[in-house]
C-alpha cells in the first residue's frame, strides 16, 4: 500500500523532473575522480620506492659493517686504497707499457743478458703481493702506500736499465762492424 507521501510524489512527478542532466558536468566529475585515483597511485609508488631504497641502503650498510666477507687481498690496488695516488700510478703504468713496447721494438740480440731484469720484475711482483697482504693485516699506512707506489716506479726504472743494456749491445755490434770494415 502506497503511503500518502509516495502518492504525492507520483502526482508531482512532472514538476520534479524539470531539469535535464548536464553530461559535460558529469564527465568532468568522473574525470576528476579518475585523476584523483591516479594521484593516489603515484603517491603509493613514491612511498614504495622510498621504502625499497631505505631497505636496500640499510641492508648494504649492515652487510658492509658486519657480514662482509674478507675481500680478495691480492686484487686490492694502490689506487683503490688511496685514490690520491691514482694519477701517479696511471702515469707509471703508461710509462711502463710504452717502455715495454720499446724493448720489444729494439729487438735485443742477447736476451740472456736481460734475464736478470725479468727476475727483478718478478721479485717486485712478489713484493707487491706482500704489501697487499700487509694492507690486509696491518691496515692503512702511509709508509706501506709509499712502498706500493715504489713498485710502479721501480718497474719503470728496471725497464730503463734494460733499454740501456740493449743500447750497449747495439753499440757493441756497431763497433764490431766498424772494425771489420777497417
Amino acid at each position: 500500500m502506497k503511503s500518502n507521501f509516495e502518492k504525492y510524489l507520483e502526482s508531482q512527478h512532472q514538476h520534479l523532473d524539470v531539469e535535464e542532466p548536464d553530461d559535460n558536468l558529469i564527465w568532468e566529475g568522473i574525470s576528476n575522480d579518475l585523476n584523483k585515483k591516479r594521484n593516489t597511485k603515484t603517491g603509493l609508488f613514491w612511498k614504495a620506492a622510498a621504502i625499497i631504497i631505505f631497505l636496500v641502503s640499510s641492508t648494504y650498510i649492515l652487510y658492509n659493517e658486519f657480514y662482509l666477507s674478507e675481500p680478495d687481498i691480492y686484487h686490492i690496488t694502490l689506487s683503490e686504497i688511496e685514490p690520491a695516488y691514482a694519477g701517479k700510478v696511471a702515469n707509471y703504468r703508461v710509462d711502463f707499457e710504452n717502455k715495454l713496447k720499446l724493448v720489444d721494438a729494439m729487438k735485443p740480440f742477447d736476451t740472456k743478458s736481460l734475464e736478470a731484469f725479468f727476475t727483478e720484475l718478478s721479485t717486485l711482483d712478489d713484493m707487491y703481493k706482500e704489501y697487499q697482504e700487509d694492507y690486509s693485516n696491518y691496515g692503512y699506512n702511509e709508509q706501506l702506500l709509499r712502498a706500493m707506489l715504489d713498485y710502479y716506479e721501480k718497474r719503470v726504472r728496471i725497464l730503463d736499465r734494460m733499454l740501456m743494456e740493449i743500447q750497449k749491445q747495439k753499440d757493441y755490434e756497431k763497433r764490431k762492424e766498424e772494425h771489420t770494415a777497417i
Binding site: Y138, A147, D150
Partner: protein, 441 residues
C-alpha cells in the same frame, strides 16, 4: 576541517623525521674512549735473547740494569661503544709476552686483520671483532743492557739505546735510531732508514734504504737501490746493485756491483767485479778485479791487476804497477807510474803522464790503440816495436837504433837510449796492429 586534519598529519610526519635524524645524529656522536698505559713485566735471563715483534706502533727500547723486561703500551682508543673498547683492551692485554729458557718473546700486535675506512674494523687475536674510530699506541720497552735482541718491525720507527749483546734487526718501512751494539748486528732494511753508532761486526741486507753509521768492524753487505754512509769500516764484503756507498776509511774491499757508485777515502786492498759502476777512491793498497762500463778515479795505489776490462775509464794518481789481462775500448790515465805497465789491449787509450826513470817495463800488445807514454829523458831503456799499419812518434835523437825494418806496412824497431848499458832489462815493448804510439810527444 579536512585541511586542518591534513596539516596535523603533515606536522606529525615532520616531527617523526626530525626525531629520527636527531637519534641518528646523537648515536653517531656517542663515543667511548680509553687512554691508559698498560704495563707488562717479567723476569728475564740478562744474557738471553729478547724477541720483539712490532707492527705499526712507534717504539722506544731502553736499557736498564734490572734483570726484568717491561713493556709499556701507551694506549689511546676511541670507539662508538664501550664494548668495542673493552674487547680491544682485552685483546691488548692478551698479546704475546712470555719467555722460555733464555728466550723471551714479545709481540705487540693484538689483531689478526684490520680494515680501515671511516672506522677501523679489527679482527682481534682473541677471535672477537671490534670497530674503533681511532687508535694510537706508543711503546716503551725496557730490557737488560746485557741482553741480545731480535727485532721484527714494520711500518713503525724504533729508537734504541746501547745494548751489550748481539742484535738481529728487521725494519721494513720504518726508521731505526740506534746507538752502539756490543755484539754482531744483523740488519735487514727495506724502504727504511737506520742511523747507528758503533758496531763490532755487521751483516747487512738493504733494499731501497739509507744506512748511516759511525764505526763498524767487518761488514758483509747485500744491497739494492740503497744509500750507505760509514765513517770507519773494517773489511767490506759486498754484493751491490744500484747503490750509493760512501765510506771515509775502510780496510779490505771485496765484492761485486752493478750500477753502483762508491766513494771512499783510504782503503786496503780492493777486489772488485764491477758492471757499470763508479768508484772514486783515495789512497789504496792494491787493486784487482774485472769491470765493464765502469769509471774508476783513484788517488793512488800499489799494484793494479785487472783480469779484464771492457769500455771502462781508469784515472789513477800515483801507482806502482798496472797489469791488465784483456782490455777493450777502455781508457787508462795514469799520473805517475813507478814500476811496470802490462796491457793486452783492443781499441784502448792509454796516457801515462810520468813514468819513473827507474821503471822496470812497459809492455803493450794491442790493436787500434792510442798509447801516450812520457818517459824522462834520463831514463835508460830499450825500445822494442813490432807493428803493422801503426804509427810511432819517439825522440829519435835519444836512441841508438840496433834494428829498424820498415816493409810495406810493417815496422820493426829495436833501439836503446844512448845512456843505456848493454845488458839493460828495462824495456818498452809494444807490438800489435794499427796502433799509434807517442813517446814523449
Amino acid at each position: 576541517m579536512k585541511n586542518a586534519k591534513k596539516n596535523i598529519q603533515q606536522f606529525n610526519y615532520l616531527i617523526f623525521i626530525v626525531l629520527i635524524l636527531f637519534s641518528t645524529g646523537f648515536s653517531a656522536l656517542a663515543q667511548a674512549e680509553f687512554n691508559e698505559v698498560l704495563t707488562f713485566e717479567s723476569d728475564v735471563d740478562p744474557q738471553g735473547i729478547i724477541e720483539f715483534k712490532n707492527r705499526s706502533f712507534d717504539a722506544e727500547i731502553k736499557t736498564w740494569k734490572n734483570n726484568t723486561v717491561e713493556l709499556q703500551m701507551d694506549v689511546k682508543l676511541k670507539a662508538k661503544n664501550k664494548e668495542d673498547i673493552d674487547i680491544t683492551v682485552d685483546a691488548i692485554k692478551s698479546i704475546d709476552f712470555e719467555g722460555q729458557d733464555s728466550r723471551f718473546s714479545i709481540n705487540t700486535l693484538f689483531w689478526e686483520s684490520i680494515s680501515s675506512n671511516i672506522n677501523h674494523k679489527l679482527k682481534l687475536i682473541t677471535g672477537k671483532k671490534a670497530v674503533l674510530k681511532n687508535f694510537e699506541i706508543r711503546i716503551t720497552l725496557f730490557v737488560p743492557k746485557t741482553t741480545s735482541i731480535e727485532i721484527d718491525n714494520k711500518y713503525a720507527d724504533i729508537k734504541m739505546e746501547e745494548i751489550a749483546g748481539k742484535a738481529e734487526i728487521k725494519i721494513y718501512s720504518g726508521k731505526l735510531y740506534g746507538d752502539s751494539f756490543g755484539g754482531k748486528v744483523q740488519l735487514d732494511l727495506r724502504y727504511s732508514k737506520a742511523f747507528l753508532e758503533n758496531i763490532p761486526e755487521a751483516e747487512i741486507e738493504l733494499y731501497d734504504s739509507d744506512l748511516k753509521m759511525a764505526t763498524c768492524g767487518n761488514m758483509e753487505l747485500k744491497s739494492k737501490y740503497s744509500k750507505i754512509e760509514i765513517q770507519h769500516l773494517g773489511d767490506f764484503n759486498f754484493e751491490s746493485f744500484d747503490d750509493n756507498i760512501t765510506i771515509e776509511a775502510l780496510g779490505k774491499f771485496n765484492g761485486a756491483a752493478k750500477y753502483s757508485e762508491f766513494e771512499f777515502g783510504s782503503a786496503g786492498s780492493l777486489v772488485f767485479d764491477f758492471y757499470d759502476c763508479t768508484l772514486n777512491g783515495g789512497q789504496s793498497v792494491n787493486l784487482s778485479g774485472q769491470s765493464k762500463y765502469s769509471e774508476f778515479r783513484i788517488d793512488g795505489a800499489g799494484a793494479v791487476k785487472l783480469s779484464g776490462s771492457y769500455d771502462d775509464s781508469f784515472v789513477f794518481g800515483n801507482i806502482v804497477s798496472l797489469e791488465c789481462g784483456e782490455s777493450k775500448y777502455s781508457d787508462f790515465e795514469i799520473k805517475e807510474l813507478n814500476e811496470s805497465f802490462k796491457l793486452q789491449s783492443y781499441d784502448d787509450n792509454v796516457t801515462i803522464d810520468k813514468i819513473a826513470a827507474d821503471f822496470s817495463q812497459v809492455t803493450i800488445d794491442g790493436k787500434y790503440g792510442d798509447y801516450r807514454l812520457n818517459i824522462p829523458e834520463n831514463a835508460a831503456y830499450r825500445l822494442l816495436i813490432d807493428m803493422k799499419y801503426g804509427k810511432i812518434y819517439y825522440p829519435e835523437e835519444l836512441f841508438v837504433r840496433k834494428t829498424y825494418i820498415s816493409e810495406n806496412s810493417n815496422v820493426f824497431l829495436d833501439a836503446t837510449t844512448k845512456n843505456s848499458p848493454e845488458d839493460n832489462s828495462r824495456i818498452v815493448d809494444i807490438k800489435g796492429h794499427d796502433n799509434r804510439i807517442f813517446i814523449n810527444n
